[in-house]
Structures are given as C-alpha cells and as structure tokens.
C-alpha cells in the first residue's frame, strides 16, 4: 500500500482515531476479540455483571500498573513490585492490630511503607546511578527479608480493617464497585500529571534523553526519585486494596503482579525504553491482561497451562507491535 492511500484513509477516519497510537488500537482490538472468543465459550461473558466484575479485578492491577508506567516512561523498570505489594498489605494489616488509632492510620501507613521502598529505589537509581533493574531487585529482596522476619515466615494473622474492605469491595455509587472508582480517580490524576504539568513533561523528556533534559534545566534526579516513590506507593496501595479484597495479607500475594503490570504497560504501547506511551494504552493493557487471565481460569486451565499461554501471548503481542527499530 502506498503512502498516499494510507494518508487518504487516515484523513477520512474520525479525528480521535487518526491521532490514536496504533499500539493502543491494537490492544483495544485484542480486547474485543477476546470478548468475542469468550462469548462463544459462554454466553455470560457479555453480561454487565461479568464485565463489571472483571473491571473490579482489573482495578487492582490498574493501580499497580500506573506506578509501573511512570517508571517505564522514564526508561527504567521497577522489579520491587511483588514485595512492595505484600509490604503495603502486611503493614496496613499490622497497623490495624494496634487499637483504634492503628485502624485509622492503617491505609496511609501501608502506602507510606511502599513509598519508603520507592525512595530507596529512587536514591539508588537517581543519585547513585545504579541500574534500576538491579537496585529494585535488591530492595525487593530486602523488603521480602523484612517481611519474613516480621511475620516469622507465615501469613500474618492480622486482618484488614473495615475501611480497607470498603475501598476494595464496597459500593459508593450503586452498581459501580469502589475499586473501579479508585482506579478511575488515580488514572485521571495520572493523565493530568503526565499531560498538563511540567513534571509530566519532564518524565517524557527524561525517558527520551536524560542528558538533554538535564541540560534544559530539569532537576532530573529529583523527578526520577519522585517517580520511583510514587511507584512504590501505588504498588503498596494496590496491596492494601488486595488485602481488603481478601480481608487479609499473604506471603506471596505480590508475585502474581510483577509480570502482568509490566506486560500491561508494554502491551499498551508504552516503549520499554521510555519516553513514549499514553495512559489510555495502559488501561487497555490492564483490561486485556485481566480478560486473558479470566478466560483462562473460566476454561479451568491448570496453573501450568496458564503460565505457558500467558508467556506465549505476551511474547506474541510484543512481536506484533513492541519491536525495537531494525538496527541502524
């Protein structure tokens, strides 16, 4: 197909389609295909209840993936997600065991613990210039060690507070789960920060070329540090919500969120090298991953098969549109 006909088609498309990233469109197309495939398998796949339930499950991943996206936009990665999630959940539940005052500060305390992990990551990446992949793996190990010492290697007995349960499973607006509202609020805030503030500009700038961003007067190290702190906080908040959903914290509750959060961001068209990507894409990625997981579990696929299909699908989709440009 020649350049002119492509342009001609593009001109006739509505404006929002013309401006959209092809990767985001592909992700949404995949969602539609998954829904259609699912509805062939079982009629209840297109029912509003099922879709809303999926959206609720997706919102936990959505909150975590938001932090991951910030970090990936910088061209870094946050591999401390598993134990940031678990730390947030465990510390929130632990605080709840200390009387009414503890119950009141449970959620902020859990989130703050995640922010602390994020700040260590941020200091390592921004000021000590340690590759993010390495320092976040290390803080993940330290967080795990701290939690193992704290819990004695078992799942803690403390349970989630009523507020945590309400955030994760309650309904403020009839029909719309609170978790979905929270994700929407966090998403809206992220879109605002990324597109309307100088911080957001700086994030994209650093992702493209940190040196250039630094020379244009941005305190790049502070921006990187803040992004990692936010990512840690959001992971922990995701953990708090998950603890509210399951009404308790568990040892390896975060393990299931590392690969999905990275995959959701990358499948949504955000470049793993940083500097390119939109939040809409991440939303599409999160929903896509959640639907895929849901369909596999509805089909009663055993864990082994799920892992295999999951890995294969991610590689296949990345090969479709996540490839680096051909060398030179």
């Amino acid at each position: 197909m020649s350049e002119t006909t492509l342009g001609g088609i593009a001109n006739r498309m509505p404006k929002f389609l013309r401006r959209a990233d092809p990767a985001v469109l592909t992700a949404f197309a995949c969602i539609v295909i998954l829904l259609l495939l699912g509805s062939l398998y079982s009629r209840s796949f297109l029912s509003p209840e099922y879709l809303l339930q999926q959206l609720k499950v997706a919102s936990f991943l959505g909150v975590i993936a938001t932090g991951m996206m910030l970090v990936i936009l910088l061209g870094q990665i946050d591999l401390s997600v598993p134990w940031s999630v678990a730390t947030g959940a465990m510390m929130a539940c632990a605080a709840a065991a200390y009387g009414p005052a503890g119950v009141a500060v449970a959620i902020p305390f859990g989130v703050l613990c995640g922010v602390a992990i994020g700040i260590v990551n941020g200091i390592g990446v921004a000021y000590l210039r340690i590759p993010s992949m390495i320092i976040t793996l290390a803080t993940n190990a330290v967080a795990q060690g701290l939690m193992v010492v704290y819990t004695g290697g078992f799942s803690p007995q403390d349970s989630a507070t009523a507020a945590m349960r309400y955030l994760a499973t309650g309904f403020t607006i009839p029909g719309v789960p609170n978790a979905v509202i929270i994700w929407a609020l966090i998403g809206a805030a992220t879109v605002f920060v990324l597109t309307r503030t100088s911080f957001g500009r700086a994030v994209y700038g650093i992702g493209n070329r940190e040196r250039a961003a630094y020379l244009s007067g941005i305190d790049t190290r502070r921006v990187v540090m803040i992004a990692f702190a936010v990512s840690g906080g959001l992971s922990a908040f995701g953990g708090v919500l998950l603890a509210g959903y399951a009404s308790k914290a568990a040892q390896s509750m975060g393990d299931a969120y590392l690969l999905p959060s990275i995959a959701a961001v990358v499948l949504g068209g955000t470049s793993i090298l940083g500097g390119r990507g939109s939040y809409l894409g991440t939303v599409a990625g999160v929903i896509l991953i959640t639907l895929l997981q849901s369909i596999l579990s509805v089909m009663q696929m055993p864990e082994a098969g799920r892992q295999i299909i999951y890995g294969v699908v991610i590689v296949a989709m990345l090969l479709l549109y996540g490839r680096a440009p051909a060398s030179r």
């Binding site: 993940n140 630094y214 082994a304 060398s327």
Partner: protein
C-alpha cells in the same frame, strides 16, 4: 602499559571476588563447629556450585549488555526434566543427560531468537519466556517427586580421593569445555564487542548477532547443567516458583560481586563463579554464628543491596556531571 599491569587491570574484578571468597570462607570455616575439614568444604562446594553454574549462565548474557531473567526458570525446568529422564541403565542415563542439556540449549536459543531476531527488550522477553519455562516445569512436576540415577549423583556430589569435592571438579570441567573456548572464539569476542558498543562492533563487521545468539544459547546450556546438579543433590524434581526466582536474583548478585559490568562488555565467568561461591558463603555465615534462619532472606537481601551499591563508587571518578547519564 606493561603487559602484566594490563592483565591485572583486566582481571581486577575477578581477583577481588576471589579475595572476598577466600576471606569469607576463612571466617566461615574458622567458626564452623567442625572446622576446616573435607566434609565442610564438600557441603559448601555442593551448595555453591549450583549458583555458580547459574551465575555463569547469567554472565554470558550480561556480557552482551542483556539480561536473562529466565535463568532460574530454565534451572527449575531442567531439574524437573532430569527427575524423569536421568534414571535407569548407564545408556538410558546418558541419553537422559543429553536430553536435559539439549532442553537447556533450546530454551536459551528461544530466548536468543526472541531478543535478537525478534528485537524485543531482554528484560520483558525473558520474564515472559521464564513464565513459559515455569509452566512447562509445573506440567512435568505438578507435585515434587521423581528420582535420579543415584550412582551418578553420588559420584558427582562426592569427593575424589576423599579430598577434592567432585562438584568443583565438574565446575572446572565445564569452565574448560564451555567458557574458555567461547571467550577465545571469534563469536565470543563478538559477544563482548556487542556489549561494549554495539554500533561500533556492527560498523567493524563483527558478527554481533551470531555472537549474542551463541551467548544466550550457551546460557541456557549452563543453566541446564545447574538444574542437572540440583537433581543430583536433591534426588527429586520440584517446580518451585520461589526457588527459581531466587536463583535468578542471586545470579545477578553473583555476577555483580564477580566484577562483571551490567552495562556489558566487561568481566568474565570465572569472576562470576567466585562471586557465586562468595555470595553463598556470606549467606551461610549466619548459620555458623547461630542466628535464627528466619533472618537469612533479609541478610542476603542486604548483602545484595550493598554489593550493587558498591558500583556507585565509580561516581567519585566522574569529572563531568554529564557522565552521570549514560
């Protein structure tokens, strides 16, 4: 620069790792209730060699400026496979070993193909293939079990002449058969060159793609040798997610301790081996000092954090602030 000084500079990381290992092992064996006996050395060697193989695998990939987050899962997969196949008569066992090593090669080749010819980022690609490898392992061993040819296992985990741990000898043999030929070959040099500066290597006509592909493939093979040895030590196969993950993590720690640059192009598998043995010894120090084993994950995490932060000392050498940003 004189020849020996150049050599010293080149091997500084390896020598440093060797020094750390000697010091740590001296502390370890001095405080061990049994003291410095062949038995203590054998146990420590058997434990350390597993990580050493996985760390060697990681080194090959890290040299090309990539990273393989699936090594731990290849290790787990081959462990599960060996618990089915490496059994029976001598000939059957031999075929089993070949099949396990072949699987490792295949896993590595898949990683290499996806990263190099599929042009995906190694981090994401290997996390995803790691999920696939773990799924396959779970398929083979939904519950821990299986068995292994115990004669072979005991031979390779015992001692030669009642003194030298057989696993160390096996490690030496693997170094001589896999690492030395690789690092001296044209493709090995290409892997180094690709890690050092891919553009420059490409412009000079170095076969970077084949070099990187070979590095990823051999990494799979080395991880499989590690998986095979795990089976020899435990006599069973187990698809344990946490164990596979921690081997991946520790392999990176070992590589860093061993003086291999995570930015690629620098370091050697020998250094990574010393790094792995040193890391294991440090982790076991807790036991000889009678700490609660609950503290071990935290202790290892802190060591890992300190080890990776050591790289930050390079910042003091930076003259121009723009060099902060690569």
């Amino acid at each position: 620069m004189k020849d020996w000084r150049y050599l010293l500079a080149e091997q500084r990381g390896t020598l440093l790792a060797f020094g750390i290992l000697i010091v740590m092992f001296a502390i370890y064996s001095a405080n061990h209730p049994a003291g410095f006996t062949p038995n203590v050395v054998q146990t420590a060697a058997n434990k350390g060699v597993l990580l050493a193989f996985v760390a060697m695998a990681q080194t090959l990939v890290v040299i090309t400026a990539g990273i393989d987050l699936s090594v731990g899962m290849i290790f787990t997969l081959t462990n599960c496979m060996a618990s089915w196949l490496v059994i029976g008569t001598g000939l059957e066992t031999a075929f089993g070993v070949l099949a396990v090593l072949g699987t490792g090669l295949l896993c590595g080749a898949v990683n290499g193909a996806i990263v190099i010819y599929g042009r995906l980022q190694p981090i994401v690609a290997t996390i995803a293939t790691g999920a696939v490898f773990f799924g396959l392992a779970l398929l083979l061993r939904p519950v821990p079990g299986g068995s292994v040819n115990e004669d072979l296992a005991d031979f390779l985990t015992g001692r030669f002449f009642g003194l030298v741990p057989a696993s160390l000898v096996a490690l030496l043999v693997v170094v001589l058969v896999v690492w030395v030929p690789f690092s001296r070959s044209e493709l090995g040099r290409a892997a180094y060159a690709a890690g050092s500066s891919e553009t420059a290597a490409y412009m000079s006509g170095v076969p970077i793609r084949r070099g990187k592909f070979l590095a990823y493939t051999l990494a799979g093979l080395l991880a499989a040798i590690g998986g095979l040895f795990l089976t020899f030590f435990t006599y069973t196969g187990e698809a344990a997610y946490a164990s596979g993950n921690s081997y991946t993590l520790f392999s990176i720690a070992a590589v860093v301790l061993g003086g291999v640059s995570l930015f690629g192009g620098k370091g050697s598998a020998i250094g990574a081996i010393f790094g792995a043995l040193a890391f294991r010894t440090i982790g076991d120090l807790l036991f000889v000092f009678d700490f609660d084993p609950l503290w071990q994950p935290l202790f290892q995490g802190v060591i890992l954090l300190i080890a990776v932060s050591l790289g930050a000392f390079a910042l003091f050498r930076v003259r121009n602030r723009l060099e902060w940003f690569l």
